[in-house]
């Protein structure tokens, strides 16, 4: 029988994968994908808590929908900035963006 803890474990694993790819990836788009992983892990968390702990109200599901919407806005904003940086300087690698330091 699949219970709450299974969902939470999957979500925690997904979150850790997201954090790992955010930290290690050099490509800005891959970092954005890592952030998507983190946000989706949170969505799983919220929906699972909603289903198992407080099924009478759908607060968790509503929160998950809001997060999906905000994540879409975030990615479009990120891609727009990456595109303009690519046109300007021909780079998408984060470690080469080093005009600003110290």
């Amino acid at each position: 029988m699949i219970g709450l803890s299974h969902y939470l474990l999957v979500a925690a694993a997904l979150f850790c994968i997201g954090v790992y790819s955010v930290i290690t990836k050099k490509n800005a788009i891959a970092v954005l994908m890592g952030i998507e992983f983190m946000l989706n892990a949170i969505n799983i968390n919220l929906v699972a808590f909603n289903h198992f702990m407080a099924p009478s109200q759908v607060i968790g599901q509503v929160f998950a929908i809001f997060i999906i919407g905000v994540a879409a806005a975030e990615v479009s904003l990120g891609l727009a900035i990456i595109l303009s940086l690519y046109r300007q300087r021909h780079l998408v690698a984060i470690d080469e963006m080093d005009i600003l330091k110290w």
Binding site: I35, A41, I42, L46, F49, A54, V70, I81, Q88, M97
Partner: protein, 475 residues
Amino acid sequence: MNISAVSLELASLSLGLLTIILGLIFPSFRSKNTGGYLAIMGLISMLIGSLYLPASNTQTFINTFYVQDSLALFFKQLFIVVAIFVNAMSLRYLKPYTKNRGDYFALTFFALTGMMIMASAAEFITLYIGLELMTFTFVLLTTYKKQDLKSGEAGLKYLLLSAISSGVLLYGLSLIYGLTGKLDFSAISTVFSIGSVSPLLVWAIIMVLSGLGFKIALVPFHMWTPDVYEGAPTPITAFLAVGSKAAGFVAFIRVFFHVFAPFTSIFMPLLITLTVLTLLIGNLIALAQTHLKRFLAYSSIAHVGYILLGVIAYSKLGLSAILFYLMLYLFANIGAFAGVTALVINTGHDRISDLAGLWKCSPFLSVIFLISLLSLAGIPPTAGFIGKFYLFTEAIHQGYLWLAALALGLSLVAVYYYLMVIRTLLSGTSEETQPFIIPFSLRLVMIVSAAMTIGIGIWPGPFTDLALNIAQSFY
């Protein structure tokens, strides 16, 4: 449903949309400063209107999800004042950078709306939406100088780091939801007041602390601050340094003074450690800066450390000291950033060494820098001294003598680096020979902020009373 509780947000949002629509209909509206004048006029009428809103009684919008109490009203008025200053600073500054100035002024309204939602949110979904509205708008405004290589880089760094931090914040919120089954503050705090401490709860508190700590630039999460401050257009840097930080603080106050109130023993040691780190790193790294905006960024990190002393004191007087400090921090920082804006308009550079010989070129600008930096340093005739005095005495009252002593010692270091900048300003010779041209709007911003800095310093009575009343009604 109570529309008057959201009247300021609605006004801000509709003015923003109006600015965009007018820009679409009249092309000259986008290329000229008309949008800026409209924005300033709208903001001033919003400020006047907000004075007539009932401050004493708490209004709610839907259930208790959205409250308009005196704390929220105070912060909203603070944000409107910052937005007026920022728009007035932008009028001349933007000219060389972009052809579409109308959108810029519309975006400042959306950032303002996000900050206002954060000030009033009494529920985590609302808080999150306000936070992201503010952050995304600030990312757009940061990247507004399209031709400048620094601007785009700063925007991408800000977006990625803030997305990561909001991911961490959300994970904490999902854990809180799992523990309580609720998301509105009052329901959560009733559950928490009986509840026991579990490891999951400790994790949730740590994650919420780091998520909100990112917004106020608490030290391990401060990395974005200097980069974004340097890359962003200077008026937007002022908006970030004052508005975004104050919005972070109001969320911080609501969450930590209200929702997590039963668990002070858990988060207090953590908060004290981070405050010590913030004070140390902010003040010590500011010593080594050569770039004026980065220097102000590190000094603003140090100021977060001082303000957090009021949170650590965790009392009514501590809260009122925070509110008072935020007021004077606003005027001192706006004065300093308006000075940097004038410097950029005239010389095109913003290094500290560019200030050399400024006294001969423009005594007016030098006096503004002098007043703002002395207030940030906390030298007596200015407001900064009284703000620091209230914060430190309240920390000592609550038994944190060592922490107040550390903050005092580090603020002496701060006096040293502010005085170094002032020395560069007063002595030294510059290549610039022609006198500076400071536009009227910028001049007005400088005069008002300098007058307020001195005024609060000489006659703090009404302002401390205001802060004390708000703190009293919040408790």
